[in-house]
Symmetry: C2
Subunit: 422 residues, 2 copies
């Protein structure tokens, strides 16, 4: 059936409706940057997040999708299939943003998933299996690091309780923020945590420059590079900046500079495939004339090759410790995810759908870290990438063309139907 029905659903995808919904969602937490771009700051488990979820639910209910939430706060919109007893096909992404984020990262995959089931419903198609659209809790890790706590909990990659005591910048515990959200959504039907989907397919902006540079319309994602996140704490001593000879200091800022310089050497990669980032730095007491007694900084290290990820990641502690002159350093690894390979099933369905629609493709790994990563142990998994301008994301300038968004949704609905009928 799929070959004949898919085109009807594909034709039922509305570029205008999809774009309108993206822009409406972008108003929730929206701001205009210093450069005049329209950004989004919508942290997870906040009133803004809940407002966005309610808007999504209102759209889903209009097309007859059933709405449930699980104990991790993940939100599910289910379009029933012919046989409700069969494991459904799962699609979706996340609705939270980076603090200085854009209008497409995450939310596009959720809205495209909704567009897909709406197109299926509009086309009057009833696939063999149900299709569920999920909005995962806290993918970004902007408010609560690490990210992907919702999908990690769903997939039992880590127990939910591991995240309870993470605090945000205001000192609010993750468990308390989640409990507040569950309470405010107590009117919604609940479901147990986790299940084994028939397949998982997530649509997302590329967040990199390849599709744009190579002029292709669809990225068939083959897998996701691995990520390791660390927190480095350097302990020195605070003394008077005007009187203390440099030779007698234990200056945490100076040893931080040495540590980052040494890490740059460790992470050097002529092929520019390795991703090494220090993006958060906290200094105490952070006053200009008192030498820093403590510095805490983060490391975000990623690579598609498991061997490189393990070898260089495991070397970080030694390199940081060796860089200390007068301070002491402790390195804590707060997140570790090995590279994943999506295999043939879902990428094959994506490639076939794109090709049948006359869209050009590249098969490529994902540089970014996605909820899809955690579905791999559960079921055949894949992702669809659409081009984003300049490869920019996590920034108000993040942008995807309306036609690119629609292309992604059309490939998504066809691939979902292929999987839902298999």
């Amino acid at each position: 059936m799929t070959v004949s029905v898919a085109p009807n659903a594909v034709a039922a995808v509305s570029e205008a409706r999809l774009w309108q919904r993206l822009m409406e969602m972008a108003e929730i937490g929206g701001f205009v940057s210093e450069e005049g771009d329209t950004g989004v700051n919508r942290p997870c488990l906040t009133t803004l997040d809940r407002t966005a979820r309610r808007l999504l639910i209102s759209w889903a209910e209009r097309i007859g999708a059933s709405v449930t939430i699980d104990p991790a706060g993940n939100l599910f919109l289910r379009l029933e299939g012919e046989d409700p007893s069969l494991p459904p096909v799962l699609t979706g992404s996340h609705m939270d943003s980076q603090p200085q984020g854009g209008r497409f990262d995450g939310i596009y995959g959720v809205i495209a998933g909704l567009e897909a089931i709406e197109a299926v419903a509009t086309a009057g198609i009833r696939p063999k299996r149900a299709i569920e659209v999920v909005a995962w809790t806290n993918e970004e890790g902007g408010r609560y690091a690490p990210g992907c706590t919702g999908s990690m909990s769903f997939a039992d990659f880590r127990p939910m309780s591991d995240f309870d005591d993470i605090v945000d910048a205001a000192g609010i515990r993750y468990a308390d923020a989640l409990a507040e959200q569950m309470a405010s959504e107590s009117d919604l039907a609940t479901r147990p945590l986790g299940y084994t989907p028939h397949a998982y397919l997530e649509a997302h902006i590329e967040q990199g420059p390849r599709l744009e540079v190579e002029g292709r319309e669809i990225g068939v994602v083959s897998g996701i590079q691995g990520s390791r996140w660390f927190t480095v704490t350097i302990e020195g001593r605070s003394d008077h900046a005007g009187t203390t000879p440099l030779g007698l200091r234990r200056d945490a800022v100076q040893d931080m500079v040495r540590a980052i310089t040494a890490l740059n050497a460790l992470m050097h990669d002529p092929d520019d495939v390795l991703r090494f980032t220090v993006a958060s730095i906290r200094v105490e007491p952070d006053t200009s004339n008192s030498i820093a007694r403590r510095v805490v900084f983060t490391i975000d290290f990623r690579h598609p090759d498991k061997a490189v990820l393990i070898e260089r990641g495991d070397a970080i502690t030694g390199v940081v410790e060796a860089a200390m002159t007068t301070c002491t350093a402790t390195v804590h690894e707060r997140f570790h995810a090995l590279p994943v390979d999506f295999g043939a099933t879902v990428p094959g369905a994506v490639a076939a759908a794109a090709t049948s629609q006359g869209l050009s493709t590249i098969t490529m790994p994902s540089g970014a870290f996605h909820d899809a990563q955690f579905m791999v142990p559960l079921c055949p998994t894949g992702m669809i990438f659409i081009p984003c301008r300049g490869g920019v994301s996590h920034h108000p300038a993040e942008y995807a063309e309306p036609v690119a968004c629609a292309n992604g949704a059309r490939v998504l609905v066809q691939a979902l139907l292929t999987l839902a009928n298999s």
Copy 2:
């Protein structure tokens, strides 16, 4: 008269009373550090600051000193002399602390000044000139940088209005914080801003290791090294930490590391006389997986040699700009004070007093920056240093022995009487 009367006042200095008052003051904003030391966090123009000032006033009124405040919030305690028409001798220091400060920096000079006039009153001595004890507003610059705004305003080194729009970490304007304090002290008599004292003498802990290392009891301060404070802003671009090739990034943290490394080379000093400190760093958006779009860091540069201060300080902007690879940098100099020489008059009186009391001395420059710096253009100026343990200050472990505090107060009262009778 001074030779005969001074010893009586010297004998009237009470080590116990001085220590008791220091410890009582230390409870206002006091805290216990992670290492178990008793520190003080008493920012200027706060309720804590005002509580400390009220306590000081209560002690001053008991000995018949008159209390006034000026428009900069500086607090004066006056012990009248034989001829009220003569310019008084001024002593004192500041009552604010660093955020992670100690129990002696600043407040010692104020309490020692009070002890000196109390000893003079107790000894029944009436010097020719009045002696005034001053508590200067915001010396530390911990809440509002630069520091010494009270003494700079008094000495007309800079107009008071220059400081109006400085904001603290909470965004509160200096002018508003000062207005709040003036309102809460509206019951106190006021005086105009500034006058020309006959002489100025400030007692302070050394904040360096020399007196302790060399086993001397009193530092006869010959002058103060110069200070230049800068704020460096590095502008980059925020992108996704997992997808953006390092070759395409504009990472403000990486260019900050290059800038500090280059500044370390510029500021290299084999004699370890130069003081170069980066102690405050703010990163935006400060989230671990978004590349830093902006870093703001401070530079505190000090040297006793005017030529070095000017030559290397003026080179900072060029060195920072040359260190940028993909970001842009702007350097703002927010404070500039050249080295000062106290000359012979006040240091001579201090040395004579110490010697006549059998106390060992060193003549030394001040590494720290003090309100005394701004009195130099107005009148003969000097300082008395007492040893502090390990040379540590701006830290909860800051400590001066009770006997060292008393030695300083005895030298202070004798020197003040010499100057007040001249």
